[in-house]
Amino acid sequence: MRLFGFAIVLFIAAPLVIVVPMSFSTASSLQFPPPGYGWQYYVSYFNDPGWLRPTWNSIFIASAVTVLTMLLVTPAAFALVRHRFRGKGAANVMMMMPMAVPHIVMAVGYYSVFGQMGIVHTKIGVILAHTCLSVPIAFLVLSANLKGFDRTLERAARSLGATPAQTFWHVTLPILRPGLVISALFAFIQSFDETVVAIFISGRNAETLPRKMFDSIRQEADPVIAVISTLLFVAVALGLIAPILWRAAAKSLRRGPAPAGRA
């Protein structure tokens, strides 16, 4: 049983074991094991506008997608979790649809429709398409959080003199914050990661990082790809660990060193 668990961990970690060493490689193309180690591809990544521009594009697009997704998903989750209305079931299904349709089909659809609208190969186009793809996962995360929300807390706030707006601001929002953050994080990552739709509609102007990586791997197998993968992995890992560190720091600040014998 333990062996089995170990095998699974190994299987999941395998790409890392290969990609991280390759990013420090001295070889001129992706090659494992690397013939020698150095920083040269990190240097070239940070100096090559051909890589930096798609990086900024991706960050910009993913940020815009996150904002747009949350603006759509937050009211939708409140409505679909808390209220009963005609067509609620259908609305729930519609929210999930983008998840059910293969990305390649969506991509072809966007390509033809956005083409007619003249927004293919623009950031707007990519943002709109990615928002559609982000909605289901962000909605799922947020509505799960909202279902677990104890509405007694809102009643308590009202009884204690809070207006509906004050209740939302002082009670609902702070308690829902972790759910909102995770939901937004998923929206961001899904856009940042997305390749298929980006290949179809991002073009040269709105080229995203995954698209650039895809092009690069087809043409020259530039080891910078390994550098980017490593950097992304580090960024995500930091993103996951940061809240834990933050909470621990806040706790120790608040009451000094933890008394012995208490968790």
């Binding site: 104890d150 007694t152 807390l153 009643r155 308590a156 706030a157 009202r158 009884s159 204690l160 003199g161 809070a162 207006t163 004050q166 002082h170 009670v171 702070p174 308690i175 608040r254 009451r255």
Partner: protein, 354 residues
């Protein structure tokens, strides 16, 4: 009794279903009133209408002469302690208690000081910096109470606040809530389905069933003089047997035979009328042979449940199960399956006509 809180003609219907039918009640200032009833009896609905979370279909709620009907919950100045406390998990105990003051524009510094004072009042001095999840159930309960009282509400509503506590803590909190309520003199409505809780805490009990008030009165009045069959069965343990009135002071029961009762202070009943006789288990006695000067009836003992200081003896007279409370010392001579005589005094028999 001058009225402070007044419910007049409160009705609540959901479509065809009547949740509350014409509830009328007057509560005096400083009074501790308990709404007692099974779940679905309308007691919580009534509470939510007072709090403003439910709207009455008809009728009005007034406090000190002011009609609350058009006020939102946050405008009513009513403190509520919910069953699961409803403490804000992202705020410390002191910040929770500060919340209602914050909503009323008090600055953080003086507000938190006032909150700490209130926590001290409920026996939680020094716990202000803890988060709700770092407190025990009883402590959370006290924080909720402090939070509901710190803004000097015109009314305190307690919605089954002791339901989640274990037995010892419950009793401790019953005493504690009474103490605080007396100290502050705040008019209080306490909702529960637990009749011992109602008995021990209340100035007055209002018994609810099926969306209506069955009876309202002092705890002992409710216990000794139940006006309806429901109240007789719900409040305390009781033996309820059908009977027919033969003449004033005499009823004939298929279970207990001829039963004499004292007509004074009892509801009117004409000869021939079908009534219910109630005799409390502690007013019954068991003996080997009929006793002089008492009403006697035969019974066969079926089950003896021992509680140490006393025992509950369940026996059968005809097809009817009867319950008798016996002192612990007396129970050793009784055996299950034994035939014996059940006896009681005529004044123990209570007539219930509704």
């Amino acid at each position: 009794m001058s009225s402070y809180l007044s419910l007049s003609g409160i009705n609540k219907t959901y479509g065809n279903f009547t949740a509350l039918g014409d509830v009328n009640l007057e509560v005096a200032k400083g009074e501790f009133v308990t709404f007692l009833g099974p779940s679905g009896s309308g007691k919580t609905t009534t509470l939510m209408i007072i709090a403003g979370f439910e709207k009455a279909t008809r009728g009005a709620v007034t406090i000190g002469g002011t009609d609350l009907s058009d006020l939102d919950p946050h405008q009513r100045n009513i403190g509520i302690v919910f069953q699961n406390y409803g403490l804000f998990p992202h705020r410390t105990a002191a910040e929770n208690v500060f919340f209602p003051l914050q909503m009323r524009g008090t600055k953080r510094g003086p507000g938190l000081r006032r909150a700490e004072e209130m926590l001290e009042m409920v026996g939680l001095a020094g716990f202000g910096h803890r988060y709700p999840k770092e407190l025990s159930g009883g402590q959370q309960q006290r924080v909720a109470l402090a939070r509901a009282l710190v803004f000097e509400p015109s009314l305190l509503l307690l919605d089954e606040p002791l339901g989640a506590l274990d037995k010892n803590l419950r009793e401790q909190m019953q005493i504690e809530i009474k103490r605080i309520q007396r100290a502050l003199g705040v008019t209080t409505i306490f909702v529960t389905h637990d009749q011992t809780e109602a008995m021990s805490m209340s100035d007055r009990i209002v018994v609810f069933d099926k969306g209506a008030i069955e009876q309202a009165g002092a705890p002992l009045d409710i216990y000794h003089r139940p006006q309806t069959r429901f109240v007789a069965g719900f409040v305390g343990e009781s033996n309820l047997v059908p009977a027919r009135i033969e003449a004033e002071g005499v009823a004939q029961s298929p279970v207990l035979g001829r039963v004499a009762y004292l007509p004074e202070g009892q509801p009117q009943a004409a000869p021939g009328q079908e009534v219910t006789l109630m005799i409390r288990p502690e007013h019954m006695k068991l003996s080997r042979a009929p006793l002089d000067g008492r009403m006697n009836a035969p019974m066969r003992i079926e089950t003896i449940v021992n509680y140490g200081d006393n025992a509950l003896v369940i026996g059968r007279a005809g097809d009817t199960l009867l319950r008798v409370r016996v002192l612990g010392a007396d129970v050793v001579i009784l055996k299950e399956g034994e035939d014996c005589t059940l006896s009681w005094l005529p004044e123990a028999a209570r007539l219930v006509t509704r």
